[in-house]
């Protein structure tokens, strides 16, 4: 495992400490961040409230009435030493996300194909070929920031955002691809929809994905879409 060159600690206000590992998006940094998070799941410290992983940072929120910044930093530094020694590259299981591409579920598939100068079938082939890494969850409940999309199908956002995008919509915005967990307005190019619920408040954990997960999109037909959707809704 490649060592992380720079580790910085700094406060985010009076109730949070940030651990920053390097300055760039990389799988190796993400792997370190996931290791820190799983360690915190097992061994938190007094006053610990929660952590938020991002591309190069883990932000740890604490109760400032119970602990203070200096204590938190020294505990985290010790923890990191321990983690760095035992860290090893592990292959995360790959989560399969079934997607019905095109049609009413993916109204922008043809625009993406036109922009890339390839056929719709080729867009689907490229989108389903890659393995994607979940770098972080943010923006909306359960929304994954994914890395790994083939640049050939990168497409700018729509000039006029839609006021309503259905939950489960799979989209492309620039070089990013992602899935809308809840119905929201948005400007992404929508190429398909998954029948899975990326976010379900009744489920524990409520988010289907977490930082560090790997995923693959799998093309399905309408019958399969309806079947999975029925199961997801408990029909």
């Amino acid at each position: 495992m490649k060592a992380v060159e720079t580790i910085q600690y700094y406060p985010l206000g009076d109730s949070a400490i940030v651990i920053q590992l390097g300055n760039e998006i990389s799988e190796s940094i993400q792997h370190h961040i996931s290791s820190i998070c799983s360690f915190l799941e097992d061994y938190s410290f007094e006053g610990f409230i929660e952590y938020v992983p991002a591309f190069t940072t883990v932000t740890i929120f604490y109760d400032a009435l119970i602990t203070d910044y200096e204590t938190a930093q020294s505990l985290l530094q010790d923890m990191l030493l321990e983690i760095m020694e035992g860290i090893e590259e592990k292959d995360a299981p790959v989560v399969e996300i079934p997607v019905l591409y095109g049609g009413t579920q993916g109204p922008d598939l043809s625009d993406v194909a036109t922009h890339a100068g390839i056929s719709e079938t080729e867009v689907i082939a490229l989108h389903t070929a890659g393995e994607y890494l979940v770098y972080m969850i943010g923006f909306a409940p359960g929304f994954p920031y994914l890395g790994g999309m083939n640049e050939k199908i990168a497409t700018p956002r729509k000039e006029t955002p839609r006021s309503k995008i259905a939950a489960g919509s799979v989209g492309i915005a620039g070089a990013q691809t992602g899935v809308y967990p809840i119905e929201t307005p948005g400007g992404w190019q929508i190429i398909g929809q998954t029948p899975l619920k990326l976010f379900d408040v009744e489920r524990q954990p409520p988010a289907l994905l977490k930082a560090g997960d790997k995923l693959r999109f799998v093309a399905i037909n309408e019958a399969e879409f309806n079947k999975i959707k029925g199961q997801a809704n408990g029909d």
Binding site: G13, D14, C37, I49, E50, T57, A64, V201
Partner: protein
């Protein structure tokens, strides 16, 4: 039995101290904008600090009491009245069955909190009663209150001869007369150099019309970076001041997203979030820079006052 909503008001939501532990899943904290007012409201009634209350914004609701109940109203003064007669804030108030609680004009602040004896009997979602408006869950059916909603009480107060001619808690509530908000340097503060932040602590920042539970857009001296900086998204929190690429400052409030991609120039200290929550569009803010140690000291001081208040109230209820 509980409250029947006769008029929902501008934005009345069920809130507690926030939904904790789910930021990593992209689930926002929500919770009362002014957690101090809500906490004191619960203390006044002998409730657990984490009980839910109603956050009433500027134009409060009209609420019909279907049963006798003991309530407390804290936070901003929105001229509360029971059956047309003004009622005192910052104390337990007995409301008889069939009476109507209404609010009038905003005299101080802009958010009033209504707590009830024992709390509201609503389902907890992911460990909290707070309303997550955008995702549509928590609180009362995941939305703001409207006409004909019914909010049941956990307990019904039975008068026991206790006289509530005392008030408490207002002493530790901040003065609204000055506009000073204490801040710490944000993680990207040092990126802004010299000229670009010259006015940050000497000029006022105006809270624009774009001000809601998610955040306040501020207007004041532009905060420009010497050179454009590509930021990777990272966590933000209540009180984070982000700077957009055109130099505008956005102050994040209770319903802020979990992560953001703009430079974080300042961070409001926790102890001053209450004051901020009670400020409204058109008001000016003056930032004052403090250290992390001072920020924590302010928070510890407030907690000590809250503990004293709790003791005082416990004695009164006996």
């Amino acid at each position: 039995m509980g409250i029947k909503v006769v008029k929902g008001g501008l934005l009345t939501t069920v809130q507690d101290l926030g939904r904790k532990g789910y930021r990593k899943d992209g689930i926002i904290v929500s919770g009362a904008m002014d957690t101090l007012a809500l906490e004191i409201g619960n203390l006044l009634l002998g409730n657990h600090a984490a009980e839910a209350g109603l956050e009433c914004t500027l134009l409060g609701p009209n609420l019909l009491f279907e049963t006798d109940q003991l309530v407390a109203i804290t936070g901003g003064n929105l001229s509360p009245m029971v059956d047309g007669k003004p009622v005192k804030m910052w104390r337990p108030v007995f409301i008889p069955k069939g009476a109507m609680l209404c609010f009038g004009s905003a005299i101080t602040g802009c958010r009033s909190y209504l707590t009830v004896f024992g709390g509201f009997d609503l389902p907890m979602v992911l460990g909290s009663y707070s309303t997550y408006l955008k995702a549509g869950f928590g609180g009362y059916e995941g939305r703001m209150l409207k006409k004909d909603d019914e909010l049941p009480f956990k307990n019904i107060y039975k008068p026991n001869g206790a006289v509530f001619n005392w008030s408490a808690g207002q002493q530790l509530y901040p003065e609204f007369s000055d506009n000073e908000i204490r801040v710490m340097k944000g993680p990207e503060y040092e990126l802004f150099t010299g000229q670009s932040i010259a006015g940050l602590f000497t000029d006022n920042y105006l809270i624009t019309k774009e001000a809601d539970r998610m955040g306040y857009r501020l207007e004041g001296p532009a905060l420009l970076l010497p050179e454009p900086k590509e930021m990777l998204s990272s966590a933000v929190t209540f009180g984070t001041i982000q700077v957009t690429s055109n130099g505008a400052a956005i102050l994040l409030m209770a319903d802020h997203q979990t992560t953001g991609g703009y430079p974080r120039v300042l961070q409001v200290i926790t102890a001053d979030l209450t004051k901020l929550a009670q400020m409204k569009s058109g008001q000016q803010i003056r930032f004052k820079l403090v250290t992390l140690a001072e920020a924590r000291q302010a928070l510890l001081h407030r907690e000590m006052q809250l503990k004293q208040l709790k003791q005082t109230i416990t004695l009164k209820h006996i």
